[in-house]
């Protein structure tokens, strides 16, 4: 039985496997990283770990990097030994996966998200793209 954390980012409903999520917090005390890509919003201390905070929406070209404007929530995930904070607009509930609620994404999903999702989780009639965090961060690595 898999559980998902639902979240919203740049008008898109998303879901992430709860096992991949270490923490959800309000982004605070960010130290900017001069010369890094604009989607790297800074580093911050989360319980003694230094977390690289990234904005996936900026990375995917869905929104502009606005100075001094951070999204409301930071979802902390671990990838390849490093800890990242994914900035999102909102974090919803933990939803238990209901087999009937899982659908494959339409093949022609015309979205920047397409490479990072293959399934949709539907709760209360709302479709959430199930996000492949490793793929998303793996890509940021390649393009960095």
């Amino acid at each position: 039985m898999t559980q998902y954390v639902t979240m919203a980012l740049a008008d898109q409903h998303l879901a992430v496997d709860v096992m991949a999520v270490e923490d959800v917090l309000r982004p605070a005390a960010l130290t900017p990283v001069p010369l890094a890509e604009d989607w790297v919003r800074g580093i911050t201390n989360v319980r003694g770990q230094v977390v690289t905070v990234v904005d996936p929406a900026i990375r995917l070209g869905l929104s502009e990097a606005a100075e001094d404007e951070l999204r409301a929530r930071c979802v902390v995930v671990r990838h390849d030994g490093d800890v990242y904070g994914l900035l999102v607009d909102d974090v919803g509930d933990v939803t238990t996966r209901d087999e009937d609620a899982i659908e494959s994404t339409p093949i022609a999903l015309g979205s920047a998200w397409a490479p990072y999702t293959s399934e949709i989780l539907r709760t209360d009639g709302i479709p959430h793209l199930i996000l492949d965090v490793a793929a998303l961060l793996g890509t940021t690595e390649g393009l960095a």
Binding site: A29, T31, P32, V33, P34, L35, A36, E37, V40, I43, T44, N45, G48, Q49, V50, T52, V54, D82, V83, Y84, T140, E141, A144
Partner: protein, 809 residues
């Protein structure tokens, strides 16, 4: 005891302790293959190690037992009571011998031939005539081990645990800045001690990284047909095992290079009049928080012409650049990828590993490497390594409102700039530069490099060292130092190529650690502005000296004075202070001593602490706000400071610290004590050559107070460098007993030729009997004086200078 033997005994004792249980099992169930395997492993290991470290008695015994047990394992023999008994006897005998070994360091005298014969007979399938008496051997408990083996992973885990603990401690202390809470102070001390212990636990003597070098040199000597000598010193210097591992291969590579390219062929040495045997010298020492390793050869030095040609051929420099490049800059080319000084690749060093790889290896562990070379005399590599990797002392700086950490190992000096400072930035073409002691240092403006915006004023330049060059980094603020637990950056941050790591500060904020080498590459290697070397003339390098740090005048900036010069610290109560003219005096042991450093309107109702300096009959007390610390520091200071009573500024413990000129304090406060000459140009110039930093510290202020302009250097080579670079002195004072080149060598070199042949040369010696004096005079000294005889020294300098004037007139 030999370290190898120590290791062997530890290993064997552990195995012996473990094998006891198996012996009992073996006795009860001789068929038990597991027990047999255990015992076999023990004797096998013992036998293997014995041959290696030369323990014939133990080896013979273990060999016989091994043979027997091997036949059992193979199944060629069935265990019998006789076999069990003799096996037990053999293990007991091994125990007895190793116990004696641990006590005396050598094998005890004894005869095991009867036991060995029985073991051999059993191996051959015969029943021996007589059996060992059960428990014939003295069963002793294994000696209490002085050390235990710990898995390296466990050590690493402990280290990272302690590092985190240090961090938490810093955070707690930061939250309660007051620091008066005794519980917090205790926590702080205890964590500090724990950290220290764990760091020490991971330390190993550096000779672990160079133990194989003598053999390598012997081999090279044969292969290259050059007689070679390897001289090693400081092998007991300890550093983190991780550092040790990082050092091993680079050292071997550099020794190979020195033997192959550095040292000339026999014929060349003969025609240059050098000793036939080439000498490679390896030395290690600790300087503050760092380990310095130097590797020198007495070969031909770098072939600068060939370096120039190679630099042009590979496109690293233009023809014009190559022609004008300084020796230092050319020397750095040795570390450029694809450049090798050897004209032909030999089987010895042509292995595809270049000095670029050596440098990269060292830099990856936070170290650095520099080269200096003199044609015909030799080449020296200087390696600087942090003591440990996990915790890094760093300087916190501010730029455009943001904080960054700079590894302290990379910072050589701290210079203030701006309207109130004597230092200013200037534009050279399109490069920003700093004028520093008659040299031009290229600087990088961090704000510009990072495209930061902010109104803060750029006020400081960190003078950075590394890669043979100095360069400056312009920042707005310099805060404190902090010990950082370095964490690697994620790929998204690493992509910038300017950060060496990240860390959490005591206040809980995260901070980026600047990669000094990477930033420096921007301006040093690709810039035509001549980089200055570490050996600037006029800079006195004192080795690690105890330095007292204090604050005075209500100024939060630390000041420093060598501890050696402070007679004691006095707590001066108000009733002992009296006004005298414009200043103050204080009664100390029935004498009136000038009390300086107090403002005219000072609050005289409170006690003040004062440092007491005593110079013969004269004494002065310097009022201070607080004595902060005594530290061992690698102090580099600018002795050319224009300000009176100030030797210059040095970076101590990562902070810009003013060094107080005690001699000048005397001359100002006790007019009778000196013959201060005001016109600097009319002051005779003295050179002091002494390897002891204590004497340099003592003599420099003493002689400057007596009206001389003093330059002090720690070695003969540095003195001769001054000669070769055109420095002139009116008189030279030199120590006799110095490592490497002695004062006698120096005198001969001075008298042999060059600009100093006529300069008066005075020998400073701690022992001056007649025979010594004769040798000294023969070498070229004019006078001899005992080091501690201040009056005679000053008188003698005076006389010598007068004589010289007389001669000149």
């Amino acid at each position: 005891m030999d370290e190898l033997l120590q290791d062997f005994l530890e290993e064997t004792n552990e195995a012996l302790a473990a094998v006891d249980v198996e012996l009992v099992r073996f006795e009860r169930e001789p068929e038990n293959a597991d027990a047999l395997a255990h015992i076999f492993r023990l004797v096998h290991t013992v036998k293997g190690s014995c041959g290696f470290i030369g323990l014939p008695r133990l080896e013979a015994l273990a060999h016989a037992a091994e043979t027997l047990l091997d036949r059992l394992r193979e199944g060629a023999l069935k265990p019998t009571a006789a076999i069990v008994t003799e096996t037990l006897a053999a293990v007991d005998a091994i125990r007895v011998i190793t116990t004696a070994l641990a006590n005396d360091g050598s094998e005890p005298v004894g005869d095991d031939s009867a036991l060995i014969t029985r073991l051999e007979q059993l191996s051959d399938g015969q029943e021996p005539v007589s059996l060992s008496a059960p428990e014939s051997a003295d069963i002793q408990a294994a000696p209490e081990a002085g050390s235990v083996r710990v898995a390296v992973e466990l050590l690493d885990e402990l280290m990272s645990g302690v590092s985190e603990l240090v961090l938490t401690r810093n955070q707690i202390l930061n939250e309660r800045r007051a620091g008066t809470d005794t519980l917090h102070q205790r926590l702080s001390t205890q964590v500090g001690q724990l950290q220290d212990a764990v760091v020490r636990m991971r330390m190993q003597p550096i000779d672990g990284a160079w133990r194989m070098l003598p053999r390598l040199v012997r081999q090279l000597s044969v292969d290259l047909e050059k007689p070679l000598d390897l001289v090693m010193s400081g092998g007991e210097t300890e550093l983190d095992r991780q550092m040790l591992a990082a050092l091993r291969d680079p050292l071997a590579h550099m020794v190979r290079n020195a033997a192959d390219h550095g040292i000339e062929s026999q014929a060349e040495r003969a025609s240059a009049g050098k000793p036939a045997t080439g000498r490679i010298t390896l030395a290690a020492s600790q300087e503050g928080g760092h380990i310095i390793v130097t590797l020198s050869d007495d070969g031909c030095g770098l072939d600068l012409q060939s370096l120039r040609e190679k630099a042009v051929a590979t496109g690293v420099m233009s023809r014009r650049e190559a022609r004008t490049a300084s020796e230092t800059r050319l020397g750095q080319l040795v570390f450029a990828p694809g450049l090798t000084t050897a004209t032909e690749i030999t089987p010895v060093s042509g292995r595809g590993v270049g000095m670029d790889v050596v440098r990269a290896n060292l830099e990856s562990v936070g170290g650095s490497i520099d080269i200096s070379s003199q044609a015909g005399v030799g080449t020296t590599f200087t390696l600087r390594l942090p003591l440990t990797l996990a915790i890094m002392p760093a300087l916190l700086v501010g730029c455009a409102g943001q904080r960054f950490a700079v590894p302290q190992v990379a910072v050589a000096e701290l210079v203030s700039i701006g309207s109130e400072s004597q230092h200013e930035l200037e534009m050279l073409g399109d490069t920003l530069a700093l004028r520093l002691r008659e040299r031009t240092v290229p600087v990088l403006d961090l704000r510009q490099r990072f495209a930061l915006t902010g109104d803060d004023e750029a006020r400081h330049v960190l003078v950075m060292r590394g890669r043979g060059a100095k360069w400056g980094l312009v920042v707005d603020e310099v805060f404190d130092t902090e010990e950082l637990v370095v964490k690697p950056v994620s790929p998204a941050v690493a992509a910038t190529d300017v950060y060496a790591g990240q860390a959490v500060l005591g206040d809980g904020r995260s901070i980026l650690i600047l990669d000094a080498q990477a930033l420096g590459t921007d301006i040093v290697e690709f810039d035509a502005v001549a980089a200055i070397t570490d050996n600037d003339v006029g800079t006195m390098q004192t080795a690690t000296d105890p330095i007292m740090l204090f604050r005075a005048d209500g100024d939060p900036r630390p000041r420093a004075v060598p501890v050696n010069l402070v007679a004691r610290i006095e707590d001066i109560t108000p009733e002992r202070i009296e006004r005298a003219g414009d200043g103050f005096v204080v009664q100390l042991q029935g004498k009136l001593v000038p009390l300086i450093g107090l403002a005219r309107d000072a609050d005289l109702s409170r006690s003040t602490a004062a440092l007491l300096f005593v110079d013969g009959e004269a004494a002065i007390a310097l009022a201070v706000d607080a004595v902060n610390d005594i530290v061992e520091a690698d102090v580099r200071l600018d002795i050319g400071s224009d300000e009176e009573c100030r030797l210059g500024t040095a970076v101590i413990e990562g902070r810009a610290t003013e060094l107080i000129d005690v001699g000048a304090l005397f001359s100002r406060a006790v007019p009778g004590a000196s013959t201060m000459v005001t016109e600097a140009d009319s002051q005779p110039r003295l050179l002091v050559v002494d390897d002891s930093s204590f004497f340099r510290n003592m003599l420099t202020p003493l002689l400057s107070a007596a009206g001389y302009r003093v330059t002090a250097v720690p070695s003969v080579d540095e003195a001769l460098e001054l000669r070769n670079s055109g420095s002139r002195f009116d008189l030279i004072l030199s120590d006799i007993e110095m490592p490497e080149k002695t004062g006698l060598d120096f005198a001969r070199a001075v008298r042999e030729g060059g600009a100093w042949t006529a300069t008066p040369l005075v020998a400073l010696s701690s022992k001056a009997d007649e025979a010594d004096m004769d040798v000294g005079m023969a070498a070229g000294f004019d006078r001899y004086v005992a080091k501690f005889d201040r009056q005679r020294l000053l008188g003698l300098i005076d006389t010598s200078l007068r004589l010289r004037e007389g001669k000149a007139a």
